[in-house]
C-alpha cells in the first residue's frame, strides 16, 4: 500500500512530503524521535430495550496526534483539524518537550510490513442498517423465548471502522484499517416477585456481520444471557475464605490479565513500580503455566495488524513453564531499556499517547481432562463467568469478580452461588496452579481494558485450571 493509494492519501491528499514536514517541525527543538498518528473513526450503535429499538447513533471523529520523545520525556499534542497549519502547530507544541536546536533528522519514510489478520467478507459498517438492527431484535426474541421468567432484555450492537496512519521519524510508514463489531445482551429474570437476577453475554471481534451466526448468533448469545440469569435465581450466598478454586475455560483468563498481564507492562517495570520489576528469569508461576500475549490471532478483538506505533504485533511469551520471560514494551520503554519491541504500543485514540498494553492474553493448554480437574476437588468453588477485574500493580494485589459459580462438593458441581470477588497477589497466585486442562478457549470478544483513563479492546483465554488456594469474597 503506498501513501497515495491509502485512505488518508485518497481522502485528505496527504503526501510523504507533508509527513516529512510535520516530523521535521516536531524535531525542530532537539527531540530524538517523533511520530504522527492519524485516525479516522466511524462508529455506529443500535440499542434495544423493552423489545423496542429505542435509540441508534452513528458518527465520525478524526484527528492527528503528534508525539516527540527526548530521553525519558514525552511531548504530545493533537488536532481534530487535518489542515497543514493545525498539524504544524501541534507538531511545534509537542516539539517543545526538548529545548535546543534540531539535532535528529527524519529518515526517509518507507512503507513497513504488517499482518493481514482481519478476515472479513462484508464490513459491518457498510452492511445495511436494517441487517444490523435485526441482530438486536433477534436477541430480544430469543432471550424472552428461553424462559418466561425473563422479563427484561437489553441488547446493544456496535461497530466501528478505524483508519490509521503512523509515520515515524525513524522512517516507518504504516497504514491499517481496523474493523470491529460486537453484540451484547443482558437479560433480567425474576421468579414470583422475588429478587431479579441479571445475566450477560456477548461476542465480537475484528469481524463482519457474518460472524454473528452459529455459536455467535444473536440467539445463542441471548440464550446464554438468559440462562445465566435463570441460574442465578436459585443461587445461594457465596462462601468466604481461602479454598480450592477451579476456573473454567475462556473468559476466566481475566485472571492472567489482572494477576500478571498489567504487572508485566514495561512502563511500570522500567520505573521499578511493579511487583514483577526485576524478576525476569525468576519463577512466578507453577511450571504448568505458560502465558502468552499474542496480537496476531486472526479476527480477534485484541489483535492488530500493527500496533498504534506502527510496529507489527507479535506472539510474546510472558511466562514459560512458570519462569518470567519478558515484558510488553512500547517504543519509549524499548528505547530506554534496550528491550526488543513486542508490538504492544497502544492508545485509545489520537488524543492520547501510546503505552504498553496487552492484546490477547492466554495460558497454553495443559494435559489434564477438565472433568477430571473438577472430580479431583473434594471441596471448593468452580467459576465459569466473570465480570471485571482490577489490579494494584505495585503491591501485586488483584481482584476479579465471578458472576457464575458453583460449589464443588466431593468432586461434583452442586449449588450455584451468587457473585463473589476473588482476591490474590500477582507473583504468588499462579504458583498455586496444580492442574491445567487441555481445553484452552479464548473469550468471545467483548473485553475492554482500562489503564490511566485509556480504554482499548483486548482478549483473554485460558484452559480449565485448578488453583490450590485462592481467597473467595463471599458472605458465608
Amino acid at each position: 500500500v503506498s501513501l497515495s493509494s491509502s485512505f488518508f492519501g485518497q481522502k485528505f491528499g496527504l503526501t510523504e512530503r507533508d509527513l516529512e514536514r510535520y516530523l521535521g517541525e516536531a524535531l525542530s527543538r532537539g527531540g530524538e524521535y517523533a511520530d504522527l498518528y492519524f485516525e479516522y473513526l466511524a462508529t455506529s450503535s443500535i440499542s434495544l430495550d423493552e423489545s423496542i429499538i429505542k435509540s441508534a447513533a452513528q458518527g465520525v471523529s478524526l484527528g492527528v496526534g503528534v508525539r516527540v520523545l527526548a530521553g525519558e520525556r514525552t511531548g504530545y499534542a493533537y488536532s481534530d483539524d487535518l489542515s497543514p497549519e493545525k498539524i504544524l502547530k501541534a507538531a511545534a507544541t509537542a516539539a517543545c518537550i526538548a529545548s535546543g536546536p534540531a539535532s535528529a533528522d527524519s529518515a526517509d519514510l518507507r512503507v513497513s510490513p504488517r499482518h493481514n489478520l482481519y478476515e472479513i467478507q462484508h464490513l459491518a459498517n457498510e452492511s445495511p442498517l436494517e441487517e444490523r438492527a435485526a441482530l438486536v431484535k433477534r436477541a430480544d426474541a430469543a432471550a424472552r423465548a428461553y424462559d418466561a421468567r425473563v422479563f427484561l432484555v437489553q441488547a446493544i450492537y456496535a461497530d466501528s471502522l478505524r483508519h490509521v496512519l503512523v509515520a515515524t521519524s525513524d522512517g516507518r510508514l504504516s497504514t491499517d484499517m481496523q474493523p470491529m463489531a460486537r453484540l451484547n445482551v443482558a437479560a433480567i429474570a425474576r421468579q414470583d416477585g422475588g429478587v431479579p437476577q441479571r445475566g450477560y453475554d456477548g461476542g465480537g471481534g475484528r469481524v463482519g456481520l457474518e460472524f454473528f451466526t452459529g455459536a455467535h448468533s444473536p440467539e445463542a448469545l441471548a440464550r446464554e444471557a438468559a440462562r445465566q440469569a435463570i441460574v442465578q435465581l436459585d443461587a445461594r450466598e457465596a462462601p468466604a475464605g481461602e479454598m480450592t478454586v477451579v476456573l473454567g475455560p475462556g473468559w476466566p483468563g481475566i485472571l492472567l490479565h489482572e494477576a500478571v498481564g498489567h504487572g508485566l507492562e514495561a512502563d511500570f517495570n522500567r520505573k521499578g513500580v511493579s511487583a514483577f520489576s526485576g524478576r525476569i528469569g525468576q519463577k512466578v508461576a507453577s511450571e504448568l503455566c505458560t502465558v502468552i500475549d499474542d496480537g496476531t490471532i486472526a479476527s480477534r478483538r485484541g489483535s492488530l495488524n500493527v500496533d498504534d506505533e506502527g510496529e507489527p504485533t507479535r506472539h510474546n511469551v510472558l511466562i514459560e513453564n512458570g519462569i518470567l520471560r519478558g515484558y510488553l514494551t512500547d517504543k519509549l520503554s524499548a528505547r530506554l531499556t534496550g528491550a526488543a519491541p513486542t508490538g504492544s504500543g497502544r492508545r485509545e485514540n489520537y488524543q492520547n499517547y501510546p503505552m504498553p498494553r496487552m492484546t490477547n492474553t492466554f495460558m497454553l493448554a495443559g494435559e489434564s481432562d477438565p472433568a477430571e480437574i473438577v472430580r479431583s476437588v473434594a471441596s471448593g468453588l468452580y467459576c465459569t463467568t466473570f465480570g471485571g477485574g482490577q489490579v494494584d500493580i505495585t503491591s501485586g494485589n488483584f481482584v476479579f469478580s465471578a458472576s457464575e459459580a458453583y460449589l464443588i462438593e466431593d468432586g461434583r458441581l452442586t449449588a450455584p452461588v451468587r457473585g463473589a470477588t476473588l482476591v490474590g497477589n500477582g507473583p504468588e497466585a499462579l504458583k498455586h496452579i496444580s492442574m491445567v486442562g487441555h481445553d484452552l478457549k479464548l473469550d468471545q470478544g467483548i473485553g475492554v481494558c482500562g489503564k490511566e483513563g485509556q480504554s482499548v479492546p483486548v482478549g483473554v483465554g485460558m484452559p480449565t485450571v485448578r488453583l490450590e488456594r485462592m481467597t473467595v469474597g463471599g458472605t458465608r
Partner: protein, 451 residues
Amino acid sequence: MSEAILLEAAQAAITLAMSRGASAVEVTCAEGEEFTASVRLGEVETIKEAGSRGAGIRVLVGRRQGSSYTSDLTPAGLETMVSAALEIARITEEDPYAGLPDAAELGKLETDLGLWSQDIASVEASARIDAALRAEAAAKDFDPRIDNSEGAGCDTYTGCRVFANSLGFAGSYRSTTASLSVTPVARAGESMERDSWYSMSRSWAGLDDAAVIGRTAAVRALRRLNPRKISTRKSAVVFEPRAARSLLGHVFEAVSGESIYRKSSFLLDQLGHAVAAPRVTVVDDATMPGRFGTSPFDDEGVPSRRTVVIDKGMLSAYLLNTYTARKLGMKTTGNAARGLAGAPGIGHGNLYLSPGTMTPEEIYRDIGTGLLVTELIGFGVNTVTGDYSRGATGLWIENGEPAYPVSEITIAGNLKDMLANITHIGSDLEFRGSTSSPTLAIGDMMISGKS
C-alpha cells in the same frame, strides 16, 4: 471558538434538521482545551497540550429517534451529522415515551455558579510543572522509605458546553478545572506499596498546597507497608471518605430512573420506605457554586436543582430525566446527562451524604475493633440484587486506633443491609469531586482473608 460560535452551529443544525423532516431536535456542542504536565523523580516526564471540539445531535421523527456526532463544525460537517442522524432514525422504533421535555420545564439558573476561573485560563506551563515537582518532592522528602514514585501530575482544563433544542431553549456555560496529584511508592524490605493524594479545584488558586498533597500521599503509602492478611471474620467496617463515596455511587445507580423503570434496582418500590439507617441523608445538588457537579441546566435544558434522595433513612426521590420520568408517571428531576451523541442518560450533580458530628478518630474509638478501608478495587457490585463483594486495602483498628495495615482481603455484604447498618457518620465531609461522603462505619460485614 467562542460560545457564540458554538451556539450558532447548534442553531444551524437544528434549523437544518427541522427542514429535513425532524419533528424535534436537540444539539450539544462542546469544546475544551487540556494541558497536562507530569513529572517523575524530579524530571519532566510528559507534557500534553491540545484542544478539541465536537457536536452531537438527537433528532426525533415522530416517536423515533436517531443520533449522530461530528468533530467538524463547518456547515458541511453539520450537514453530514444531520443526515446521519436522520438516516439512522429510520431503523429505530416508535417509543411512545420518547421526546423533549415539556416547554414549561425548560430553563436555567441565572446566578453565577462559579464554574469558571480566569486564573486557570492564564496559568503558565512552567507553573504546572513546578506544582507537580513540589508535590512529588514533598512526598519523597517526607521519609527515606519513599524511594520511588509513579510521578506527579498537574492538569488544567478549560471548556465550554452549549445545548439548544427545537423548543427554543439555548444555553451555554464555561468551566475550568485544575488538579494536582502525586503517587509515591514506599518500600521496606520486600514490601512495596503505593498510594496517592490529590486536589481538584475550579480555580488555580483553589488547589491545596503542593507540599501538603505530597506529604499526605507519602503518609498514605507508608502506612500500607508490610500489610498483613487477616483471617476471615465478621467485623465492623469503617470507610474512609475516599472509599465511602463509592457506596454513594451504588446508591446513585440504584435510584436512577433507568434502573427503576427496568425493575433492576435493589431500591425498587422503596419510595417512601426506610432504606437506610435513620441518620442517613443523601442529597443530590447541582446548584452549589464552584463544585464539580454543578451546572446551570441539565443535558436536556432543564434547570439544575437540589433533590433529597434519602431523607433521614427514607427513600424520598428517584433521579430522573424526561424519558424515565414519563415512563414512571413522574416529573423530571433535572438529572439528564449525555455525551455528544445518543439519547440522554441519568447523571448526578453534587451527590453527597450529609455529615454527622463525630471526627474519624472518635469513630475509630467508638468502634474499638474493626477494619478501616482506605481503598477498594474491583467491580463486584450488583445493584440489581444489592450483592456486594470488593477487594479492600486498609488498616486494622485495635483498641480504638488504626494498628497495622491489611490487604489482599475482600469485604462483602448486601447493599440493603449495609445502608441499614450504617452506625457512624463522620463530620469530615469534603467536596473533592462530584460524589462526596464523610467517614462511614457499617456495623457488620464479612471480611474474607486467610483461613
